[in-house]
């Protein structure tokens, strides 16, 4: 029999883990204390307003986009029957495998003024520039659309899992009270799924704030582009770090607003009965609309950009499929596998720590540890590099003193530093998912299990694990796909002669050789598809274990 560790041991473990993970973000925040001088006056007088307004508008647009796509598709595929519903269940996750800047490149390639579509229109009509209106893809709205198309799966995944786990009884009560499907959706299902939807939305928004590739390419000045411009162009590290700190404040405010609006409301099911869902059978125009809705999202989020990549790979790309390519695949998969497993273990540890000993220091520490997701990858990478190099240089100095030998850098520039950076950046993803899963486990379930004589370990194994399985898989695979796509931290922290698919795709794309980047981009997408299918399967089947 295992003996559960005492509360103080837990608390200490959780807080110290969270503190270690919070170091890079804290390093960035510490720059708030360094005076940046008149750089701020310059920024305030010229571009700061643009950064703030554009970032806010972008977040607003992405919120609308991911909620409509994500919640809409989740409701349709989990609660309704219509032709193709089973196919959309898993295929709607595919856009997740598409890096945002890659989809931005493909859309520009297709819809830009100089692209094939507009050129054809001009060829047919004889119009010239200024004679006709066409939506400008490289704009703020365009950036919001691109990000929504690849980020909505976060909301879709978590909302779907929430809808599927909702007790039929609650929905039946709603029906017997005379509510139609729409009313049931808005008054019962949606509020019940709110923690999950908000968790998905906050992931999407944090990733939006951290995005650099898309907004930079579209010429939209946001906080992220501003950070790099200030850092490198103006040469002010302090002001750039302070902009990053302001970015973190955005996130703090977001999280705080959500939490305070939720207050003490709990979202557990209290019913003891749990039956398989009876889905709404859609027919006629309703069925067609549902089909069209889901298909459009899949088409614009995946089929169209992937198709464009395929065309490029087949026609204009120059040979990239050498033996080193296999090496890249291996590196990418290895890193993604390692980081996603570690992130899951950490998330479980922190999530349970918070659940069991949720006092204030623990809650704050866990919250700060999850902030890295909103910070641009390059900034996090620097935040990781500074403490690692400090430790390495410290050890080196000590060794010189003791033995007269130099050890050089032991951890900086190794995969250890890189994986640590992934954990800092993506912990929020696994943490949010695991916490959303843990929220479904009623405290009374623990009490019942324990009162029936189950040990803590047995309770976890026989009660928690079956209920959490779906969330654990989700957390694992979300981080896996995120690491596959990750670019800035990989670029900056990787060891010599080590590369990944994302790096290869970026190097070619950033050199404006979009077509040549297609092989690597497609491989990222292909490598992401298998986890996505596994993920969908695990969610679809997670429900059965809970039925009684």
């Amino acid at each position: 029999m295992h003996k559960a560790p005492g509360p103080s041991v837990w608390r200490f473990g959780v807080v110290s883990t969270a503190v270690i993970l919070a170091v890079p973000v804290t390093v960035i925040l510490s720059y708030l204390l360094v005076p940046a001088g008149e750089v701020w006056q310059h920024l305030a007088a010229t571009v700061l307003q643009d950064y703030v307004i554009n970032s806010l508008l972008l977040m607003l647009g992405v919120t609308a986009g991911v909620l409509v796509f994500g919640v809409g598709a989740a409701w349709l595929t989990s609660m309704c029957r219509f032709p193709g519903a089973g196919f959309f269940e898993w295929s709607l996750l595919l856009p997740m495998a598409m890096p945002a800047y890659i989809i931005a490149y493909t859309y520009t390639g297709l819809f830009d003024f100089a692209g094939p579509l507009q050129t054809t229109i001009r060829g047919l009509t004889g119009w010239r520039f200024g004679d006709y209106w066409f939506p400008e893809i490289r704009s703020l709205e365009g950036a919001a659309l691109m990000l929504s198309l690849v980020l909505f799966p976060y909301v879709y995944l978590l909302a779907r899992a929430a809808f599927l786990s909702q007790s039929l009884c609650v929905l039946d009560v709603s029906r017997t009270l005379g509510n139609g499907p729409w009313r049931t959706f808005f008054t019962v299902a949606l509020p019940l799924a709110r923690p999950a939807i908000v968790a998905g939305l906050s992931l999407a928004l944090m990733e939006t704030l951290a995005d650099y590739g898309t907004v930079q390419y579209f010429g939209v000045s946001t906080f992220t582009t501003g950070i790099f411009r200030t850092w490198f162009g103006l040469g002010s590290t302090a002001a750039a770090a302070q902009l990053s700190a302001v970015l973190l404040m955005f996130v703090f405010v977001l999280v705080f607003l959500e939490r305070s609006s939720r207050r003490k409301a709990r979202y557990h099911h209290t019913s003891q009965r749990h039956q398989d869902l009876r889905r709404y059978q859609l027919s006629g125009w309703r069925s067609n609309t549902a089909l069209l809705f889901c298909f459009s999202i899949l088409f614009f989020g995946f089929l169209l950009p992937a198709g464009q990549l395929l065309v490029w790979a087949g026609t204009t790309a120059e040979g990239q499929l050498d033996s080193r390519f296999l090496n890249l695949v291996w590196n990418s998969l290895g890193l993604a596998g390692t980081a996603s497993l570690l992130a899951l273990m950490l998330a479980l540890f922190l999530g349970y720590g918070k659940r069991l000993n949720g006092n204030r220091p623990v809650r704050v520490a866990v919250r700060v540890a999850g902030m890295g997701y909103a910070v641009p990858g390059t900034v996090i990478a620097v935040g990781v590099m500074i403490p690692f190099a400090a430790i390495d240089n410290g050890v080196d100095a000590w060794m010189r003193l003791q033995f007269g030998i130099s050890t050089g850098l032991l951890l900086s520039g190794t995969l250890v530093a890189l994986v640590f950076a992934y954990l800092v950046r993506f912990l929020a993803v696994s943490l949010q998912t695991v916490e959303a899963g843990l929220a479904k486990v009623r405290p009374s379930m623990d009490e019942v299990a324990r009162s029936m004589g189950a040990t803590a370990a047995e309770t976890v194994r026989r009660v928690h694990f079956p209920m959490l399985k779906g969330s654990l898989m989700t957390a694992l695979l979300l981080v896996f796909v995120d690491v596959l796509k990750e670019l800035p931290a990989t670029l900056l922290l990787r060891p010599f002669n080590f590369s990944t698919l994302a790096v290869r795709a970026y190097e070619l794309a950033s050199d404006e050789r979009l077509a040549d980047a297609s092989h690597a981009s497609l491989t990222i997408v292909a490598a992401g598809i298998l986890p996505v299918i596994l993920l969908s399967y695990s969610i679809a089947h997670s429900r059965h274990v809970q039925t009684t």
Partner: protein, 342 residues
């Protein structure tokens, strides 16, 4: 203090030393390169083939690599920093992460403006940022200088990328060096007013937009045009075919140019090998290959220019020492912020 050091700690430390020594045993040189792998790897492989010196490579964004060098400090494993513009090399020198390298033969062959006056960095290849115009819609005789592009005749006819880009920052820095901040700021306001669209995309996008009729003038680096002319994609070839090169400021200081270049790091442990690599990149065959493959001009005037580039005619280059671009960079960014150049 020494006596109290735990035994275990000492053994671990010793083990780490041994592994570090092993890693240092082979002849090698460690390179941080802002030049993309595809554009430099085969040349580095040739170097290894000819000298037996293993080249270890990390590529990345110039500013980020520079940051990495700074943070890693005296223990940084990097021996050589390669960037694609002189401004960043100057920044590295200012940050104290480079050191003086003596290359007497190569120095003699390089024009003064393409290397650091103190010998911290050396240019490796050369590119120009001329005015490209759409044949038929613009008469070359109406063009003269960068400065003239602020005139009202060019209203809504100019395509250029964002001022976030280092190439534009360097261009404006070169103008500040020639004319002073106030005059360039006035110019920039007029120039921004002549943009056909808000800046977006890269240099190739400007060429494509001009070819498609969105604007009449594009400003882009020469190697992008060369790469489009030789592209496998017919659409790119067609777009590039519609544009012609105009060399601006020929009656004055000359067309703005920049270099890719290299500097030996202050922490270099393989200093000699790093110096050998720079010398190798500046020898006849490398210069020829490097310039041809990347569509750039050789940095040494005595090496023949690739036929595609030669077809644009000879031109007078701005001889400003490129270190100045680095010095004036923050000034240029502020100026562009004030002028509303996105």
């Amino acid at each position: 203090m020494y006596a109290r050091t735990p035994f275990l700690l000492k053994s671990v430390a010793m083990l780490l030393c041994i592994s570090t020594f092993n890693a240092l045993a082979a002849e090698e040189v460690n390179v941080y390169s802002a030049r993309k792998e595809k554009l430099i790897k085969s040349l580095l492989d040739r170097f290894t083939g000819e000298t037996g010196i293993q080249v270890n490579l990390v590529t990345g964004k110039a500013d980020a690599l520079l940051k990495r060098l700074q943070i890693e400090g005296r223990n940084s494993p990097a021996d050589l920093l390669i960037t694609t513009d002189a401004g960043r090399l100057h920044r590295a020198k200012e940050a104290g992460v480079t050191q003086v390298t003596h290359l007497p033969d190569q120095t003699a062959a390089l024009p003064n403006s393409f290397r650091d006056p103190d010998g911290h960095w050396y240019g490796l290849s050369l590119r120009a940022r001329p005015i490209l115009y759409v044949q038929g819609r613009v008469k070359p005789e109406d063009l003269s200088s960068y400065e003239a592009l602020a005139e009202p005749t060019w209203k809504s006819r100019v395509c250029i990328r964002s001022s976030n880009n280092i190439y534009n920052q360097s261009l404006v820095a070169s103008m500040i060096a020639a004319k002073g901040t106030d005059r360039v700021e006035t110019w920039a306001r007029g120039f921004v007013g002549n943009f056909a669209r808000p800046p977006k995309g890269g240099d190739r996008d400007q060429i494509k937009a001009a070819a498609a009729g969105q604007c009449d003038i594009a400003i882009a680096n020469t190697y992008y045009l060369a790469a489009m002319i030789e592209s496998k994609d017919p659409a790119q070839r067609e777009a590039a075919g519609k544009l012609r090169v105009f060399w601006p400021n020929q009656d004055g200081r000359g067309t703005h140019v920049n270099v890719s270049g290299a500097a030996v790091t202050a922490s270099a442990r393989n200093r000699e090998n790093a110096t050998k690599l720079i010398a190798y990149l500046l020898n006849d065959t490398s210069q020829q290959w490097y310039a041809d493959t990347n569509g750039e001009f050789p940095i040494r005037p005595d090496i023949p220019v690739n036929p595609v580039l030669a077809s644009w005619g000879e031109f007078k280059m701005d001889t400003l020492n490129l270190s100045r671009l680095g010095e004036l960079n923050p000034e240029a960014v502020r100026l562009m912020d004030r002028a509303g150049w996105k």
